[in-house]
């Protein structure tokens, strides 16, 4: 990727340095296609997961509605990333879309029967269905095959946000039967600010960005070096997927066991069955704690984890994912996600288990309401 920065040409230009940049981009496109089981022509480079999700959801909606005015329903799950939920909601408020949210069970897995009923009620009015491959907060893997089976009966396109799943789950675009798939470079260890939407041939997607059509359904000069880095990171992740997954699953299980041992009342969120969750995900709720107090205490000990989402001003908010799963809002506030990746070690897990009891203890003290009687004259 560093070497690629020496190539200054614009990948859309016809001169020599432009051709060089173009070569980089096209090789990357082929590499990514190979890694995801799609055709090179199906890879649309974007600025990352958020843009890919927006392009897929708005682009599919507009194209489908243009084909038939009755197609105004957008069906998605209640536990999607905001990069999906927000454009869906926007279509509802600005474009007359009718939004349906698929409920989830207490593990965060979508209710397939509910989806089937939603679609069966009026299949001709469904513009698209968008369901993530695996949840970014609690790690629950969604039954995509069943979603695709329901949708394909009625010719409804399926979009899947696979930002968390790429390089981790066994994804194959052609076999999985998905029409549009979001992937992001930074989640597979590549550079930030680049990603792709894989869109099946023959699936029409209205463009979000107009201005030269550098990519199918997308305009804008391509960042050739970043794209090269993205492809290298993705293929490496996919090639080593089985070894990496086997290794981090052991760490994840050790982490879960360790947390339960030192904080017996901690609640594991997401699917308790190992195969039902992302191999690197462990998500716990700690009764009586506030997540941000725990995060702060662990951060001070060099342990980095996250509490879910925060608003623009940085105010921690209870996760919409946990709330959709029916988790008590008080308990949801005391939740932490521990993510393990290819660079994580058993020493990292041990450090967490060592620091956790004192942190939970302190956070519980801080979370407790206190009564003070002020002195009177």
């Amino acid at each position: 990727m560093t070497a690629a920065y020496a190539i200054t040409g614009n990948a859309s230009s016809l001169h020599a340095s432009g051709r060089q940049a173009r070569k980089l981009v096209e090789e990357a496109r082929e590499t990514i296609a190979g890694a995801l089981g799609c055709r090179p022509g199906e890879v649309i480079f974007t600025s990352g997961g958020t843009e890919s999700d927006n392009l897929a959801i708005k682009g599919l909606f507009w194209a489908r509605r243009a084909g038939d005015q009755r197609r105004i329903q957008v069906i998605t799950s209640s536990v999607e990333h905001h990069a999906v939920l927000d454009p869906v909601e926007w279509l509802g408020t600005h474009e007359g879309a009718v939004v349906q949210l698929i409920p989830v069970d207490s593990h965060g897995q979508i209710d397939v029967d509910a989806l089937r009923e939603m679609v069966a009620a009026d299949p001709g009015s469904v513009a698209l269905i968008s369901v993530m491959a695996a949840n970014n907060e609690v790690g629950t893997v969604q039954p995509l095959n069943e979603v695709v089976a329901i949708a394909s009966e009625h010719g409804i396109p399926v979009h899947c946000d696979a930002v968390q799943a790429a390089g981790v789950l066994d994804l194959n675009f052609a076999i999985d039967g998905i029409d549009a798939l979001t992937v992001s470079s930074h989640k597979v260890g590549g550079p930030h600010g680049v990603g792709a939407l894989v869109a099946a041939r023959g699936v029409a997607i209205e463009a979000l960005l107009h201005g030269g059509a550098h990519e199918r359904s997308r305009s804008g000069t391509l960042d050739a070096p970043a794209i090269a880095g993205f492809a290298a990171a993705l293929i490496a992740a996919v090639d080593q997927r089985e070894q990496t997954v086997a290794r981090i699953e052991v760490l994840r299980d050790s982490l879960i066991k360790g947390v339960r041992h030192v904080v017996p009342d901690a609640v594991l969120q997401g699917d308790p069955v190992a195969s039902g969750r992302l191999p690197g995900n462990a998500h716990f709720s700690f009764p009586g704690c506030e997540g941000d107090a725990l995060l702060m205490l662990l951060d001070a000990r060099g342990i980095e984890c996250s509490t879910g989402s925060a608003c623009t001003a940085g105010i921690p908010e209870p996760s919409h994912v946990l709330l959709a799963m029916g988790v008590d809002p008080e308990l949801a506030r005391g939740s932490l996600r521990f993510s393990l990746g290819s660079t994580s070690t058993q020493a990292d897990v041990d450090a967490l288990i060592e620091a956790l009891p004192a942190a939970v203890d302190r956070a519980r003290r801080a979370g407790r309401p206190r009564i003070r009687i002020s002195s009177e004259a």
Binding site: D292, L295, M296, C311, A313, I315, R362, A366, A377
Partner: protein, 362 residues
């Protein structure tokens, strides 16, 4: 020490945090989220709760190289500061929300949480000075820069709070703090000072109260004759000493302007009268808080009744309902709800909430 730096996003708290780091403390920055709906607050740099301020606070922490978190205290702020502000006005009193915030939020909720999380103290950008005696007792003194002195709004602090607070700016003038911020590369150096009430987005306090209380019409009554002179739409629109908004068509016989001289929320009455009625020399107060220990009965202290006011020498006498301050010379426009801060020289002795004011001689 492990210290929490309360970063407002302004220049003072930024330099205070930087100085705490220089003093060798382990500092973690926090920004207080005091409203569940940041959008309702102004976006400019004047308040203490806007999105821009949250961003500035984060940037300050980045420049200083310290960890930064947002603490959500919106619920407590609503209950202890905003609701209190509205109900005090509703009761015909004139509250100072900055004092309530210091009393209940910054040096109570924040300090408690900091202590529970393993910190030793809170550092803020208030202009005031702490002096630690040989026996470890902490005295609170005025800042050197009289125009910026904030000891009045800190006069609600008790010893346990002073023990765990740091005010590193009190010995310098504001201009020096701005220069220092610039030198340290803190980009908030040229931000305007905050003033007004942070949660009243547009600075229109009367409208803020009217939106929450609604119209509560009542009479203007002449304090001397008891005669009804006109109607107003709520005592909350008035403060003792105010002249604006006293819309009475019939002028006084002597042509002198009328002022608000008293409020009775139970009857929605605004008492009006000549300027001379505003001059009082006896203050009754309650809910006293002392920085070290209660003043002794008969103590001669200096009393300050507003954030940027002068002091008046006074004698303290305790009684059943609290304490009475007898002023050496009359003061103008003292309203119930305001805080009377008591000083011995530059030292803050304590404070109490004014319940009433009167004249010792007719």
């Amino acid at each position: 020490m492990r210290v929490i730096a309360a970063l407002s996003g302004g220049v003072d708290s930024a330099v205070a945090a930087a100085r705490a780091i220089d003093a060798g403390h382990e500092v973690v920055g926090i920004h207080l989220a005091l409203t569940p709906d940041p959008a309702q607050f102004r976006e400019g740099g004047r308040g203490c709760c806007s999105l821009e301020d949250a961003r500035d606070a984060r940037r300050v922490a980045d420049v200083l190289g310290i960890a930064y978190y947002v603490w959500d205290l919106a619920e407590q702020f609503q209950a202890d500061v905003i609701d209190d502000f509205v109900s005090e006005y509703l009761a015909g009193r004139t509250p100072n929300p900055c004092l309530r915030c210091n009393e209940h939020i910054k040096f109570s909720a924040v300090l408690d949480r900091a202590i529970d999380l393993g910190f030793d103290a809170v550092v803020t950008g208030h202009y005031a000075q702490r002096e630690v005696r040989d026996d470890g007792v902490v005295e609170l003194h005025r800042a050197v820069d009289a125009t910026k002195d904030q000891s009045y709004v800190l006069a609600v602090l008790e010893q346990w709070q002073l023990q765990r607070s740091l005010f590193p700016l009190g010995a310098d003038p504001k201009t020096a703090i701005r220069d220092e911020a610039l030198e340290r590369g803190l980009l908030v150096a040229d931000k305007p000072d905050s003033h007004d009430i942070c949660f009243v987005a547009d600075g229109r306090t009367q409208q803020f109260l009217r939106d929450r209380i609604g119209p509560r019409e009542g009479d203007f009554v002449d304090a001397e004759t008891g005669q009804t002179l006109g109607r107003h739409d709520g005592t909350f629109g008035f403060t003792v000493g105010q002249r604006r908004g006293v819309t009475i068509e019939r002028p006084r016989a002597d042509g002198a302007p009328r002022y608000v001289v008293g409020l009775d929320a139970s009857t929605q009455t605004v008492l009006v009268g000549p300027e001379s009625l505003l001059r009082v020399d006896v203050i009754d107060a309650a809910n006293a808080r002392w920085t070290i220990e209660p003043a002794h009965n008969g103590a001669e202290l200096a009393v300050q009744v507003r954030a940027h006011g002068d002091t008046t020498p006074a004698t303290v006498q305790f009684n059943e309902s609290g304490l009475r301050l007898t002023l050496q010379s009359p003061e103008r426009g003292i309203a119930a709800g305001q805080t009377a801060a008591m000083y011995a020289g530059t030292q803050v002795v304590g404070s109490a909430t004014i319940t009433g004011a009167s004249r010792s001689r007719a």
